[in-house]
């Protein structure tokens, strides 16, 4: 008869019911916390590691990022006349090591996370999609 206990007063369940009811009626700082994504967006913190961005002028195509990438995500390809990294987002760890090691501080990671796509090939981001030009004041 171990299953019989003093618990049969059901005080605990009633307590729980009260807490859930408080949530139903949003009593005492228990608001709806949902952020309705396509309509409203949570802030992306400045340090967020999303899609890469490469400074068109600063990058010298040295390949240090290629060497240091843990996952051989980055390859250096020729774009117009210069060499730039190409990043395979499907393989990227988003670890930020490439940003850390860049000797020219040319590689950055932006707050862009909307990268979903229909094919595996489109996940490879060439320099044409990664380069940006720094505004000179």
């Amino acid at each position: 008869m171990t299953w019989i206990s003093k618990d049969w007063a059901m005080g605990g369940i009633i307590k729980g019911l009260i807490v859930t009811l408080k949530h139903v009626f949003r009593v005492g700082n228990r608001p709806t916390v949902t952020v309705q994504y396509p309509y409203e967006k949570m802030p992306v913190h400045p340090r967020f590691r999303g899609l890469h961005a490469i400074d068109e002028d600063a990058c010298i195509g040295c390949g240090i990022c290629e060497v240091n990438c843990p996952n051989s995500t980055i390859t250096i390809v020729k774009h117009n006349t210069r060499w730039y990294p190409q990043v395979n987002m499907g393989m990227c760890l988003f670890c930020g090591i490439c940003v850390d090691v860049c000797p020219m501080n040319a590689m950055k990671m932006t707050g862009n996370y909307e990268l979903a796509d229909y094919s595996r090939e489109s996940l490879i981001y060439g320099p044409d999609r990664l380069l940006f030009k720094k505004e000179v004041n």
């Binding site: 605990g12 369940i13 807490v19 967020f48 990438c69 843990p70 090591i97």
Partner: protein, 382 residues
């Protein structure tokens, strides 16, 4: 009365195996006669990858072992490397490390308790838990730019100093969390059905638990007063005031309560860390890497070369991760890559005891016991 046995193959895809664990069950009606866990469905060869990558490159991979609480993984590996190479760490960096790890401990216990309750059929707890977890993840994202896989703790320090506005948000989180824990306790701690499901289920004595190699909250639930943070202190834990949460009963409920208490202790630690943190700002790693000559002694990362070769040697270094003792056995042969990385994961060793723990219980108890052991399959299979 003899009846035919029923063989059930539970998993690897099953809602309550926390991923891809598989149990081969020999059942007599509803009772489990024999339970054979089959693991390895998430075996990703992390140890082999550790041999193929340099010391710095392997840090992101440690994030993905115990993906619910990745900071302790980072730290355990970095600690091993630091011991191997004899690197000094600035005090502020140690404070930041402890801050992140304790925050992560709260997150881990939230997920653990929440998924336990979800397996028992009460989905509300996990929703509330993830509400608070999300706030913590916002803090992580603010700190290091990622939500779950941080790559933040580096040999010699951390990647970047804490940003402006972080500490007020953290204080807000601590204050909020205290209130929420009261809600959690009201929702579940007294619930009679929860007591029926958890008390005297999956009992294991302290002696057996030690014999099975249990560590962490699961061990402390069996009455063994042991916490590496207290008795083999590392980092700044000797300076902090906290108590080790121990329960005598050794059943599922005790393990659950230990986690609940540890969350409160972690909040207590966090408050101390915030109060005592040294004020000197650290220089970020990227900055330091560019101009090593301008570095001050309080740099986040002591100058860390791209090619880093610790002296040959071997080290076993362990810390108290949220799930138990997490150890890295790193062997260096003096080259840029470790010769061997062995990971002693708490989940793997804690899972060993499942067959004897659930023998004679019902399927529902298997789920409850499995939930209280709190394994993460990435950590089990590595």
């Amino acid at each position: 009365m003899e009846s035919d046995e029923l063989f059930i193959n539970m998993g690897p895809v099953h809602p309550s195996t926390h991923g891809v664990a598989r149990f081969k069950l020999r059942m007599d009606g509803e009772s489990i006669k024999e339970c054979t866990p089959v693991i390895g469905y998430l075996h990703r060869g992390t140890e082999k990858i550790g041999e193929m990558k340099t010391y710095l490159q392997f840090i992101p991979y440690t994030d993905r072992l115990d993906y619910i609480a990745a900071f302790p993984n980072n730290y355990a590996y970095v600690k091993a490397v630091e011991e191997l190479a004899g690197i000094e760490v600035p005090l502020r960096a140690e404070y930041i490390r402890v801050l992140t790890m304790e925050l992560n401990r709260i997150v881990n216990h939230i997920v653990s308790i929440g998924s336990l309750l979800m397996d028992l059929g009460a989905a509300t707890m996990i929703m509330w838990g993830f509400r608070e977890r999300e706030n913590a993840l916002q803090l992580f994202e603010m700190l290091c730019g990622a939500r779950m896989t941080f790559n933040y703790i580096k040999p010699g320090g951390v990647r970047e100093d804490i940003p402006d506005g972080f500490i007020p948000k953290l204080n807000e989180f601590i204050k909020d969390m205290e209130k929420r824990i009261v809600d959690y306790e009201q929702l579940i701690n007294g619930n009679e059905i929860f007591h029926m499901r958890m008390k005297n289920i999956g009992v294991i004595s302290g002696k057996d638990a030690v014999n099975y190699g249990w560590t962490g909250p699961t061990l402390r639930g069996s009455g063994v007063d042991y916490d590496l943070r207290k008795y083999e202190p590392y980092s700044i834990y000797p300076d902090l005031d906290f108590k080790v949460c121990v329960r005598k009963e050794g059943d599922s409920y005790a393990r659950f309560i230990v986690r609940m208490d540890e969350m409160k202790e972690s909040l207590h630690i966090l408050r101390q860390v915030v109060d005592n943190m040294p004020a000197t700002k650290l220089i970020s790693m990227a900055e330091y890497g560019i101009s090593p000559m301008t570095g001050t002694p309080t740099a986040v990362s002591t100058y860390f070369p791209r090619i880093f070769t610790p002296p040959a040697g071997e080290v076993y270094s362990r810390i108290e991760a949220p799930k138990g003792e997490l150890g890295f056995y790193v062997v260096s042969d003096g080259t840029t890559k470790p010769y061997r990385v062995k990971i002693r994961s708490p989940s793997f060793c804690n899972l060993t005891a499942i067959p004897s723990l659930v023998k004679g219980l019902k399927i529902g108890d298997l789920i409850a016991a499995f939930g209280t052991i709190d394994v993460v399959l990435g950590d089990v299979d590595r």
